[in-house]
């Protein structure tokens, strides 16, 4: 990593000029970072929204199924509702693990290279 300070003429945080952003955007390293974010976040977003909609639609239109008693006073509706909580916690944890392992190192490498002016 270069140690020389960015020239003062650059923007506040040693930001490179616009051309450099275009060059970085087209670099293989950045494309990999973008792919790594999108291929994880986009399908997962679709999945949890669909899962939530299924739950809402079941609540709306499948009352009998939702009312099925499982044990004691606990029915399917309550279990599915709690499952929404559980899946939300799990997805948050899973994304954060992915981000820490896959996204942060790549982002950090590009960022420090750009800010050191290399």
């Amino acid at each position: 990593m270069a140690t020389d300070a960015p020239p003062p003429s650059r923007a506040e945080h040693g930001l490179p000029a616009a051309d450099e952003f275009v060059a970085v955007q087209e670099s293989a390293e950045f494309r990999e970072l973008r792919r790594s974010h999108r291929s994880f976040a986009f399908p997962l977003t679709v999945a949890f929204i669909v899962w939530y909609l299924v739950y809402v639609l079941l609540s709306n239109y499948a009352g009998e199924f939702m009312g099925t008693k499982l044990f004691g006073s606990i029915n399917v509706a309550l279990v599915l509702g709690l499952a929404q909580f559980l899946s939300t916690f799990l997805i948050a944890w899973w994304y954060s693990r992915h981000a820490a392992a896959q996204l942060d190192p790549k982002a950090e490498a590009i960022k420090s290279r750009m800010e050191s002016g290399a």
């Binding site: 930001l15 950045f30 609540s59 950090e108």
Partner: protein, 539 residues
């Protein structure tokens, strides 16, 4: 004397004194914090973003404090107490919504923006029109939300303190308004954040205590609790199934679907939530604060489940309805029952929970006021009126005056709306956020071709569609529960416009982009994309 009568008429004056004392302690403590924070607020980054020095945990607490309004605490507990399972549906949408913020919005926003939502929307667009649009939608969303909170404060106070006179209610609205102006003008983001953190801690402690007491009554047997709630509600097994509130007709079912979509997609477009991500130093910290918020908010909603079903199991439904038709006083009533009616312990518990509810309102309105005045000062004043030539001092002065102006407008509107049923306004704020803000944020961050025309079409199109549909919905006219029950000009059947207005917002952003002859600014997009994903050059 039945507790409902005590609550409704406010005859037990020791309750009133206790509630007022506890509330005054909270107000004093927050004013001290605000003055302390104000002394440390020098730069614009301090005022707008609290100096970006909060930790992920602190911000997670503040985000929760900003998000868990009195509507979620009193409203959801009350809805569960009266309608059983359907009350619970609300909270699920509120929670799942955070995943949109986590996966798609929080980190890129933190990386590429500075103080407002408009920073990101206008990044690669023509600044003036897009900032004007972003400022407009920020202020509209925040004012709807503010009005609902202020009217809620009036209702709450009249219920808990027995203040029923018009003058009393106006006084409460004015007090809330003046306090929020003081918090924001003096303390800026730093003061507001601390107020929200204190409130979040109090709210969680209060909910934990009540939950523990409820579960203790049932020996921690949840099935027993639910069974008792179903029996006591007089509705039997149906109380534990979906349908009591939203399942009446085909229209109410569609309405629930519409509401559900608005809740899930609205959160990541709420300006007062978005600006919270600027208060931490990095995108990684923003991610962690969302995780804390998801944990806290999720745990809180699970506790409201115990509170709502606890109230249903321990209090007769007539008593809850007699105190407030919508069930909004179920949680304070539950506190009174758990502590013991006519006992000091019961009075203390009731007073504490009521004071927490007031604290909740104050923290939320402060966040909303800050979001709208920041957007006015930073987007509209500094970048549209002054064309980016305003210095920091001028911008901060504008923000403080905007706070006073927005506060004054809210006080007047809140006083006028004090007897209207404004409960629908929060759902409307979510619908506007999901229809106008979210499409523009997502297109800006992830779609290369997106243009200024597309951004304007999606913001104004989503905004006008959502607000227009509500204007002609049963929320405003035509039903006994409407804002104006005596007139009828409604033709849109649903109370929530999201089902139509959210797709319209997305569609218009896409259509506007395709139909405009404008070339997207590829270099600016390169800059935005690289910055948003890597954090290079983040403020």
């Amino acid at each position: 004397m039945s507790p409902a009568v005590i609550l409704a008429a406010g005859e037990a004056s020791e309750h009133r004194t206790l509630i007022i004392t506890l509330f005054a302690v909270f107000v004093l403590a927050t004013l001290v914090i605000t003055i302390w924070a104000g002394r440390q607020t020098r730069s614009a980054a301090d005022f707008y973003a609290g100096g970006r020095q909060f930790t992920a945990f602190q911000n997670g607490l503040a985000v929760s404090g900003d998000y868990m309004s009195a509507a979620s605490f009193l409203g959801i507990a009350g809805a569960i107490a009266l309608f059983g399972y359907d009350g619970f549906l609300y909270s699920i949408g509120f929670l799942v919504a955070w995943l949109v913020a986590l996966l798609l919005v929080a980190e890129p926003l933190r990386n590429s923006g500075r103080y407002t939502m408009g920073d990101v929307l206008a990044y690669r667009m023509r600044q003036r029109p897009v900032r004007t649009a972003a400022g407009t939608s920020t202020i509209v969303v925040s004012i709807f939300y503010l009005l609902a909170q202020m009217a809620g404060a009036g209702v709450l106070v009249s219920l808990l303190l027995g203040i029923t006179s018009d003058g009393g209610k106006i006084g409460i609205v004015a007090l809330v308004g003046v306090l929020m102006i003081v918090y924001v003008t003096i303390g800026g983001m730093k003061g507001t954040t601390w107020v929200q953190m204190v409130k979040a801690v109090l709210l969680v402690i209060g909910a934990l205590l009540l939950t523990f007491l409820v579960l203790l009554k049932f020996d921690f047997n949840i099935s027993d609790l639910l069974g008792k709630a179903a029996d006591n509600s007089g509705k039997g097994a149906a109380f534990l199934e979906p349908g009591l509130k939203y399942g009446a007709t085909g229209t109410t079912k569609l309405d629930f679907l519409s509401l559900g979509i608005a809740l899930v997609l609205g959160t990541a477009g709420l300006p007062h939530i978005l600006i919270r991500f600027y208060t931490v130093p990095t995108a990684k910290a923003a991610r962690k604060s969302v995780n804390w918020a998801i944990g806290l908010i999720g745990a809180f909603y699970l506790m409201t489940l115990a509170l709502g079903f606890g109230a249903a199991a321990l209090i007769k439904p007539d008593e809850i309805i007699a105190s407030n038709k919508a069930g909004n006083t179920a949680a304070p009533l539950l506190a009174l029952h758990l502590g013991g009616i006519d006992s000091t312990w019961g009075a203390i518990l009731l007073a504490s929970i009521s004071a927490v509810a007031f604290a909740t309102i104050l923290a939320v309105v402060a966040g909303l006021t800050l979001a709208s005045s920041s957007s006015f000062a930073h987007d509209i004043y500094a970048n549209v009126i002054k064309k980016g030539q305003a210095d920091e001092k001028q911008e901060m002065r504008a923000a403080r005056w905007a706070t006073v102006g927005i506060g004054a407008v809210s006080i007047v509107l809140g006083a006028l709306a004090r007897d209207l049923n404004v409960a629908g306004l929060v759902a409307l704020a979510f619908a506007v956020a999901a229809s106008a803000n979210l499409p523009t944020i997502l297109y800006s961050l992830f779609w290369k071709r997106f243009t200024t025309t597309g951004a304007l079409w999606s913001i104004y199109g989503g905004l006008v569609t959502a607000v227009g549909l509500v204007l002609f919905s049963p929320v405003v006219s035509g039903k006994p529960t409407s804002m104006f029950p005596d007139v009828d000009f409604h033709w849109f059947p649903l109370e929530n416009p999201g089902l139509i207005s959210i797709p319209v917002g997305f569609l218009l952003g896409w259509l506007g982009t395709l139909l405009s002859k404008e070339e997207p600014d590829a270099r600016k997009y390169a800059e935005l994309e690289v910055r948003s994903l890597t954090g290079a050059g983040a403020h």
